[in-house]
Subunit: 224 residues, 8 copies
């Protein structure tokens, strides 16, 4: 095949196989999916448009499509999420325009076996809305904070929580936003400690990091 599918990865990473849909044709995705599905792993396809997903679903009807997140997901029932999960990941976002990236993060985190709690539309320009969720914000195990335009939300969240914050800049904005550069720089320069950053619009990456941390917190010290 044209791509050496990496079957060792699940064992190595503790997670289902993930396909990056962008720039792949429906045919390529179907062929990759088929190879993977046989292994029994859940399969997560990110950055796949509705049209392309529909073509895939005709052949792979067991896949579910998430519109806003642009994710195509197959959950093998054998890999059901354990029901004794403790704690949760917060996914926060600043405005309605960040929804796509926030949902990419949320669906990904759920697909990686985590409890997810969404807190949307709490941008810093209306900070009172943020404080309506004060407890909920503080008590998460780890937070993914999605923000475009000036990208100031992670700094504020980072200042009120004592758990790790993964900041995801989005390309939402115009003019001197420069396609997300503004939010990216804001997050890298945050005065609040405990914030690390992923690429612009990388909701998937934000959730992946959060899920790794969440699973560590589940296992706790039993690991050694």
């Amino acid at each position: 095949g044209f791509a050496k599918v990496d079957h060792h990865r699940k064992k190595r990473q503790g997670f289902p196989e993930i396909v990056f849909g962008e720039g792949k044709s429906a045919e390529q995705i179907i062929s990759i999916i088929k190879a993977l599905r046989g292994k029994g792993n859940n399969v997560l396809v990110t950055r796949i448009s509705k049209d392309k997903a529909n073509l895939v679903q005709r052949v792979c009807a067991e896949f579910m499509y998430y519109d806003i997140a642009e994710i195509l997901l197959w959950k093998n029932e054998e890999n059901a999420k354990p029901d004794n999960l403790k704690g949760y990941i917060n996914i926060l976002c600043a405005g309605t325009s960040d929804l796509k990236v926030a949902e990419e993060a949320a669906i990904t985190a759920e697909a990686l076996g985590c409890n997810v709690n969404r807190i949307y539309d709490v941008g810093v320009a209306g900070i009172h809305r943020l404080f309506d969720h004060y407890e909920e914000i503080q008590q998460a195990t780890v937070s993914v904070v999605v923000a475009g335009m000036e990208g100031a939300l992670p700094s504020v969240i980072g200042g009120i929580v004592s758990h790790p914050v993964i900041a995801v800049p989005t390309s939402i904005g115009y003019g001197a936003n420069f396609h997300g550069l503004s939010a990216l720089l804001t997050m890298l320069n945050s005065c609040a400690s405990g914030i690390s950053v992923v690429n612009i619009d990388n909701g998937f990456g934000g959730a992946y990091n959060a899920a790794l941390i969440y699973q560590l917190a589940q296992k706790g010290a039993e690991k050694e």
Copy 2:
């Protein structure tokens, strides 16, 4: 002389004469000052180092030097600030490292005849400190908000006040801060309405804009 001093400006602008000290020698500054002082105007010299200021003060002993702000100022007693001023300009800053720029703004605003209220060290990473000043923040006529690193403070302030906010990015930071570019972009992209921005480290410019607004509010509609 080497610079055509513009005596019409005070009348035109309603303010004392201002000298930009950077890149001028003590001798040049003294010669400009002498020309201006005769007019009876207050004289404000910005961006002048302590050493250079001392040289000037030997000749012009009536000038006072402000260390942190690096400003040299002569207040002609005839131009005393009226004692029936209403309202005040807030100068806010995020951290101790922004102090130089904040003080440049504060001293300038006072020299331009305004009441000034300082609220320092209220960065967004410790947002509870900001809320200790909630009333004081809201009741100003106009605010100058100085911030370096991620520069998120103006967005938060802009969201809780309904008066104009002048945002001043500073060059404080390192790495992906790129000498203040990060804070500048943050402020230009703010989601909060009612924020406008001046050049990096331009505490003077922030205060000058605020003072123009403050004076308008003083005169009110009497003007027409």
Copy 3:
């Protein structure tokens, strides 16, 4: 709902509710509008294309669309502009290509209850045209100056007026213009005092700042 509409804002800001139309569907806009209209506030929708606006108008026929400004506006008759307004906001622009941004500013300022005076096509490359409006330029309460390409107009205006100038860079130009970066930097580096800057193409933001200042000048010192 998907977005927590912020009903406190009018009281807090002294202005009608504003909807940022970009990236929202006609359905989303209609649903937001309906929630807001019930309150009796004027409603201003910015950055909405003609096609989208027409879809909204089918349901909300009382809204008026401004073609050049790409604004959709409902003025509740109960909120009529007082007829004793004093002074005016100047909206200046350099060339015909800046018209869209200038009109976004003008319609916004009027919607926010201000007297507006337009002075268009007065770029610095034909400076004599500017001087035909000398009196009119100087006597405004506050000015919004819109310019693309080299963006030099605010510097010239700032030098001849003694009121605050809000500079709005536009993305008009080509080559080394870099989508408005050239005009933005020009304005941030202006030698003229009393100029502050908003994001590229942000006619709305320029007008919002100007309106806050204009209203302060109306109330004058009565406020405290």
Copy 4:
């Protein structure tokens, strides 16, 4: 005092008080330290030159200085590291020139109560050296990977471990390195999942994030 020391933070964050030494005078640092020391917290001063540290040590002799890391640290004996810690944080770096940042990370992580394991001089240009440490690399709880020049090390590490990786770009390099921009972009664009990034040269921030994760893994699910 000039800075409102935030005594609530330790409780909130679970860590000792941290002082950013850059841009503060020895006097300012001494005065902050005195205020903090009374609380019994450990105190960590980062980015403090040897000379400045010596001045502080004359007054606060109980502080220890770490040359390479440029850190000044006081460990209150009452706050000794528990001896039943499980797991460890790996600090990896690419070359000898990244040592300063790597040590800033290592000393910080230890000061925050974590077990630390250093793996230095394992850059990708000599990848066999990396494989001598294969087991050690995989078995950490979390890794901090420091790299300058092209900054490729985190991608390689991220590909062979299944725990979270915090990438720290350094400003080491010349020419098209642009003061660390090259390494920063490399890390943000990594194909390996499970990598998040902090500011250029921010060894402290890398370690702080790692320590938050390490502590979560200690407590495990007991938290809820």
Copy 5:
């Protein structure tokens, strides 16, 4: 004609004539091809879309089109590749999305008379896949390494081979990738010696340099 076709070049460069298809119409390409074909040289047209190529093939049926590489090629049978070629050029790439550029390199190198060996989909995030090809990688005469996103592959290859490496950054990626800038900077800053770089997406240029080196190795010292 509109372009002075340079017939001296083949003799000067030792290679067939090459046409850069981008921005030329099918008509222009046909007219250039006709002029060149008469000389008996092989003709290589790069960066030509399938549609445009089809138009050309209607007139010049002896040309073959390579879909992925977007190359149109005529091999004059008189110019057949000698069958005693020694050694080979490796073309390596990181991911399936770099295929277009890698194939542009591969077809070009073959058209320039070289043995080519493809090693695709061996990105650094799954470094074990790279080591499956260890011998094959080391024994090439020269390598062309194509990579997008973080562009780290050339550094790893450069560290394990002792022959020259030509690095080709691709524009594959998103966000802080900035259209290939990230991979370009990574490659220019590589710690591994023996790496030189061509323009973003310039698979042709990478192959051209490799072919010059490969031919030198063929002739060896006989040249002088």
Copy 6:
């Protein structure tokens, strides 16, 4: 010698020999000067600090040093400026801080045999000062316009004259000036026709272009 001095150039260019002093030692400059002087040409050394110039003058006492311009010049009396020159070059600058670059231009133009007229300190923020020189500005043969900060002066001049304008951006400014980038972009994007631009701080280059034009105007159509 270490540099092949190009004796053909004077004939080719119609001007004396020019030495770029930056990065050359006094010894290197002396040795170049000696080689050139024998030819009888005037010799112009630019970008030479006072200290270095003094060392050169000890050996070459006939050279004159211009402090502000940082130019060292020898005028061979045999090459005296003709006294029937018609017209003049205007050198304009915006502020006192642009003086160094303006003087580099003025001294260079004079050394190249042109009549020069200086109009300094006429920045756009005080545009009335510019109009005091209206006639003088319009009647030049060609103008060199030097400006830092926002660099708007060439646009205004270009709009009121019908002769060629050479714009010289300077690196004067701070913050978002980015070492002259702001002024450079302003000038390249000017709406006024008839403006071309040289490198940042390149007063020499501005004058050299102007002198070529001025000499053309002298010869007029006699040339062919």
Copy 7:
């Protein structure tokens, strides 16, 4: 009307009226043209697409359209080019892809009443082609040199001529070309004296500057 047409300009500038077509509708252009034509001036419309030009020509049939240059031109027969013109402007370009910009320059220069000589496809990568035109290149009055990609042609031309060179960078290229930035920087940094630069793709501007110089050379010293 929407734009204050500036009838004084011809007298001031010595040239016909020029309309910048980009961003204007056919209707707007027609209305401007009608106002201008009545004056008897030649009219030059630049940056107008074939489709838009056709719409204009239906109403203004006396206008001629230049396909490659995308220029629409009306030459009033009363303003015929004098037949005793001396000298010529060279328009040089590097490759066939720069043709559009070169032709914009050539047609403009002719419309401004100059003799024009085209020397196309003489890029530095095949420098022998350049030398076939050696005499022709040196004997021009002024040259406009258009180049994309690396933009090196003006440096080479500037080194062999002693008349002024106007360099026009084009946006032709890909990858690290950054839309013409590469060629622009090359030209601004040229080691050859006597080169000045206009905006990327600004063929019009290049020709306008050249025409001003050409006319000066015509009038020669008669002017004063």
Copy 8:
């Protein structure tokens, strides 16, 4: 020791051991040198200042220092350059200010066992000087072309030779040179085929690539 010296590298690469002197103390360099010298390999230390080199020479007197190149070199007599070398590497540079980088390349190439031919001061602004060396330029096996400012030399050389060209941009220049970015972009965008590029000021890297190619040409096809 603090750095794991890589003794396998010589065998792997066919070259002596190389130490990057920048950022290492004299003590560190001495300790590394001692470890390496015992192996009998030649030792090359790059980027070492005269002062630091002197300190090293006190202990390691057999090392020779090259002033301009800032290289410290020990040639073990047992590793003498074979006297039957065929062909040579050309090192070309544009101006006297590029000498440091050109010499770093020349000394490095010699230390790597190659014949080297220097052709200096042949910048494109005086292209006739280049043609004095036409034969010599064409007959090299491989060329290293060093250039600052506009960096156009590699394009011209690439056009007249049919062997590989390694282009080395230097940081020489000012203003819009941006520390070598201008020359770097020029070289990456060259229209001439057969050019690849290394980092700004990386004379060492340019020579290293050239030497790898030169050695391949020596061995020729015997290799397989």
